[in-house]
Structure formats: structure tokens, C-alpha cells
Symmetry: C2
């Protein structure tokens, strides 16, 4: 019997995430009936993009066109407002919609999914699935096995080192051009995409400021992690910082667990987690870095050490993951794979409950 | 009566910190009898450096030459091993020695000083004073007033974003050249000064790894902060990370205090601390950044918010300080100013004791 194949549409296909979804589909051997159909705004209509499937032409998006194609899966790599307008309508057709925006992530009827962690949260009749925020998705890969094996995470403090790619292709271009011009002229370049020039700078401001002084990016980590872990009492805070790197996010994380934890027990838990690779050999100068994590599917975890503040219930770690892969496109494609093909390796740990510490 | 003037020597004068000490002396209107005398290794002997005092020639260091000059102050901007070999001998002469290395920082008979905080720890007959590690000095400026006004800091978790200047002039040069070559060729440059290429990368490794998994840079923050604050029970951990910026360090800090704390009470304490400037107006996109903190004497503190993990005993903040100024040269010159001239503005808070929480 011939292998079943699927018809795929990608909306927002000319952006950094959209283009990466095309690559991930082939790299993940997703059985497509045709190369994916690419949609974008009128501005990009007719454009030819070179992909791993060969040159593909971009069509202007319209809801009726997408519905008429009877897709099996439609990936949305668009803004939250665009997703809000069209996602549910597309999902009313034949396709499962996997949305990369923040529009539906906290909606009760929309599962927020990292397939290796909580694919089980998608019910059979579910047609709209949300892909988490990149910082959340990367951190969750390491935090989940630690949470499950050590009685639950009681407190979690994250500081991020986020790449320009979080602001799309334009963000990466602005950083590259700005670096070159600053090196050539000695002058600080101007900024359009970011609030301030990013070359040789650090900007502790990603997304909008909220009333509590945190940015929305920082609050997303709290809100989304709790939903993904189905643990609404987990105490978690984040400081989200943009730095001059291109496409891998790093995160410095301190946790306190309800049960005792050690670098050895943490390593044992992390080793069992699909999607995680331990890079932690200081004597060989091996630890997670954007240099090694860029274009890598697995997130890198290292610098495991007993935290000096929380003692034998505390662990420090450093991690790094490709923002466009685990933080966006790969996670979305793995959701599709998990739902349609059932071939995503999942964490063995289920039915977990947090200790009353 | 003519103002008393002082005779100053600087050893290691051709390095990034040494050169900055020369600038700080003039900028701080330090009353010198002559331009400072510059010493370096044989390699730099005879070299002419352009300084704010005009062109100055560099002499080869020898202990006897330095002793013969009967200096009032000698600044050491040299390695720990060099300082170990010569600092006490120089201090046996006429000069007060202010050492920027880590060699004596934890020695019981050597005060470790941030003048705005603990100049009082220098006794009258003291001839050797240690300048703190840059990350410690920058963080301490914000932590001290919070520590004093809120019953003491119970727990402190720091993640750093450290500039290339921490590795001296060579570090800054390697970053600049590497960025330019990567922009021009698309190839990752090689690394000599850093363990890995720094352009567009993040390296969670500064100084040597210790047995407990922390680096020495990270442990310095714990060890030195406790000594400066004279609070040997303070629970503090750090993750020290090198990023591609030039000369200002940023730090993301979470604290838990024994008494309750709020962004408002924190701001009130910080406003009283000389050497600190609050940059915290998110609605105007104002927060601490290397772009604004570079070449600035004051450290910038902002992103003040009630921490989500420690509730009304928790505060998050982000800060940024020039690594070569507060983190090295300026602090050293202010120590000299405080000891010889008594003109450093000190924090009003003394006689503080930590609550038993």
C-alpha cells in the first residue's frame, strides 16, 4: 500500500519562520503529496523562493483560496492579528491549523503544544493548535524532565540572551548591516526594527511593557510554561533581553525543586528527554553556545551545577536553542508529525503531580 | 596655601585598565604633582602613549625604580601573579598600592573597597587596597542600598552579559576584527583571546572552572560581595556570560530581601546611592544599556519590578556599568581620592545588621 501523503499550506511563507517550516518539512521527511503551497501578502505574490523542494512561487493569501485547496495541515507564520482574523475560519475547513502567533496560546479550547511534552493535550476533534513562544519552547525542553523527576519545579528564574531572528528576517538584516556599518564608520547605526541599535548593545526590552513592569515576552514565559506543564501554581519569572546574535537564543536558568536535585540526577533526567542534548564538559570547553546550537534541532543544555542559593533543592543550568527551529518552525512541524503520523518521540513521563512542599 | 599634590605611578599602564586610570585621574581632578609615571613590561618600554596629560613615555618596570620614586599612590593594573610578586614590596615604601588584580581581594589584612560603600574598612596604617572584580563592583552599587534599606539581601541570583573589555584590549580587538571578517567573508573567525569565537556568539565561560561547576568569575561575585558587604551569610549565585559587546557589562539580578520590598521603595533607596543613576522609564524605552552606560561613571539601574517568584520580598532589576570605569579604573581612582583627599561621596547608611529572617 502506498504511504499516505498530506497536502500542506503555509501562510506567511516568505518570513524567516515560514521559510524554515518548508525546510523542516523535508528534513523531517513529512510525506507531502506536493511541495507545500506558499501564501503571503499581495506584496510578495508571484515571488519565486528557492526552497529545498526547488523554486516555489508564492500566492497571495485569501481565505477562500486556502479553503478550496482542502489542505490537511495549514501552518500560520503570521502576526497575531492576522491569525485572530483567519485561523478559526481555516480550521473550519479540512485542515488542522498550527499557529505560530501568540493569538490563541492561552485560549482554553486551543492546546499549546510541545510535542515531546504534551502532545496528549490535543483531543481528537481539535483543529487549531498553538505553537509556543520561542523562549518558552526552548526552556521547556530542559525544564520538563527536571520538573517531572524532582517533585516539580517550585521556583524558576530565567534570564535570556535572545537573538535578532526573534524579530524576523528584518531583525537579522538590521543587525548584520548595522555591525558592518559600525565597523566601517565607527558610528552607531540607526534602528528601525529594534527600539535601539543592536550591534554591540544589549536591549532589555522585547515586546510591550505590561502594567507589572514585565514585558509581554517575559510574561509569556510564565503564562505559557504553566499551561504546557499543566501546573498553574509554578512560580516562574523571566528577564528577556535582546543581544547581538543571529538566530539562537540562550537562557540562564535557576530552579528550586520540591524534591532534592543534583547535577547528576538532573543529567539523568535530561538524558531521557527527546529533543535535548547535554553539552556539559567544562574541561573541554564544551557548553551550550549559539555557535553550536544554530541550525541544530536539539536544544543544548549544560553548565549543570548545584545552585548556591537553593542548596540541594537548587540547580543552575545554561541552555541554547535555535530560535527558528525549536523556537518556531521545527516545533510546528513536529506537532503536525505527531498528530498526523504519530511518529514524535515523547517524554516517557506522564501523570505527574506536584508535591505540596 | 598651595593645594597639596601627589605623585602617582601606574604599573601595567599600556593595558586597557592602565590607560583608563590615567584618564580617570584627570577627569576626577586628582591633584598630581606631575603627570603620572607609566610602567609596563620591557616590550612596551620607550613607547609613547597619547593621554589626556599629553604624550607620555612608558618606562620598563622594576621594583627598585618604583621604590626610588617615592610615589604617594601606585596603581597596579597587572596580572594576579605579577601583583602577588610585587604589591607588598611596593607597599613597604612610601606609596599606597591599589591593586586591580584578584591576588589580594580575599586576604584578611587587605581591604576590598568600593569607596561609596565601604571606604571605612580601610584602617589608617593600611598600605595595600584591593579593587573588586568588575562584575561584583557594578552589581554592588545597586545591591548595597537595597541590602541596607530592606533588612538585608537573603538571596541573590545574577546572570551577566559581559563585554569583551573584560579580557583587555586584545579582547576588544579580537571582537572587532572578528565581526568585520565575519561580515565580509561569511566565515566564523578564529579565537585566540576567548575560548571560542565571540562575534554573534555567547560564551558561558569566564575564568577557570572550579570543582563545584561554577567558574572563578562566578565565585568571585559570591566571595567578594560578602566581603564588601561584611555579610558572610548572604546567599548569592552568578552565571557569568561573555557576549559580543565592547566595554559595558550588563547584569540581570533577582533578589529576595528579609523585609518587604517594592519597586517604589527600591527606587527610593537607589536614588540615595552615589554612583548610581536610575534609568527606568519603559514608556520612553529607557532602561540600562551598554549603548548609554559606556564611558559613564555612574552605573545604570532599571527594569525595577516586583519579582514574580519571591512576591513582596522579591525584586528584579537590570543594570549596566562601564567595565573599565566602575568595574576597574574609576573605582581604583576613587579609592585613592577617598583615602588621600576624603572627597568621595559615601552612602549614608552605616552600622547595618541583617535581620534573622
Amino acid at each position: 500500500m502506498a504511504e499516505k501523503t498530506y497536502k500542506i499550506g503555509i501562510v506567511g511563507a516568505t518570513g524567516a519562520v515560514g521559510l524554515e517550516i518548508v525546510e523542516c518539512l523535508l528534513q523531517q521527511c513529512f510525506p507531502t503529496s506536493h511541495p507545500p503551497t506558499l501564501y503571503a501578502s499581495a506584496r510578495s505574490s508571484g515571488k519565486i523562493v528557492n526552497t529545498c523542494y526547488g523554486p516555489l512561487s508564492v500566492e497571495e493569501f485569501s481565505l477562500s483560496k486556502v479553503l478550496d485547496e482542502h489542505f490537511d495541515v495549514v501552518f500560520l507564520a503570521v502576526s497575531g492579528s492576522f491569525a485572530l482574523k483567519f485561523a478559526r475560519d481555516i480550521a473550519s475547513g479540512t485542515a488542522i491549523v498550527i499557529d505560530n502567533s501568540s493569538a490563541f496560546r492561552l485560549e482554553e479550547d486551543v492546546p499549546l503544544v510541545i510535542p515531546e511534552i504534551n502532545l496528549c493535550s490535543v483531543t481528537k476533534d481539535c483543529k487549531l493548535v498553538a505553537n509556543p513562544n520561542c523562549t518558552t519552547a526552548i526552556a521547556a525542553m530542559a525544564l520538563w524532565p527536571l520538573h517531572c523527576a524532582h517533585g516539580g519545579i517550585r521556583r524558576c528564574i530565567i534570564s535570556t540572551y535572545q537573538a535578532a531572528s526573534g524579530a524576523g528576517m528584518e531583525g537579522m538584516e538590521e543587525l548584520k548591516k548595522g555591525c558592518l556599518s559600525q565597523m566601517e564608520t565607527g558610528e552607531t547605526p540607526t534602528a528601525d526594527v529594534f527600539a535601539h541599535p543592536l550591534p554591540f548593545n544589549v536591549i532589555p526590552h522585547i515586546d510591550k511593557f505590561q502594567e507589572n513592569g514585565y514585558t509581554k515576552e517575559e510574561m509569556k514565559v510564565t503564562w505559557e510554561m504553566r499551561k504546557i506543564f499543566a501546573c498553574h501554581t509554578m512560580s516562574i519569572s523571566c528577564t528577556a533581553v535582546r543581544i547581538p546574535t543571529l538566530r539562537a537564543h540562550s537562557e540562564s536558568i535557576t530552579i528550586e525543586t520540591f524534591h532534592s536535585i543534583s547535577p547528576t540526577s538532573a543529567r539523568a533526567s535530561l538524558e531521557k528527554q527527546p529533543g535535548v542534548v547535554i553539552v556539559d564538559n567544562p574541561s573541554q570547553n564544551l557548553y551550550p553556545m549559539p555557535l553550536s546550537a544554530t541550525c541544530r534541532n536539539d536544544v543544548e543544555v549544560g553548565r549543570l551545577r548545584q545552585n548556591l542559593v537553593f542548596g540541594d533543592h537548587g540547580l543552575d543550568l545554561f541552555m541554547c536553542g535555535d530560535q527558528l527551529l525549536r523556537g518556531a518552525a521545527l516545533n510546528a512541524v513536529l506537532i503536525a508529525k505527531g498528530l498526523l503520523l504519530g511518529t514524535v518521540e515523547q517524554s516517557g513521563i506522564q501523570g505527574f503531580s506536584v508535591s505540596k512542599g
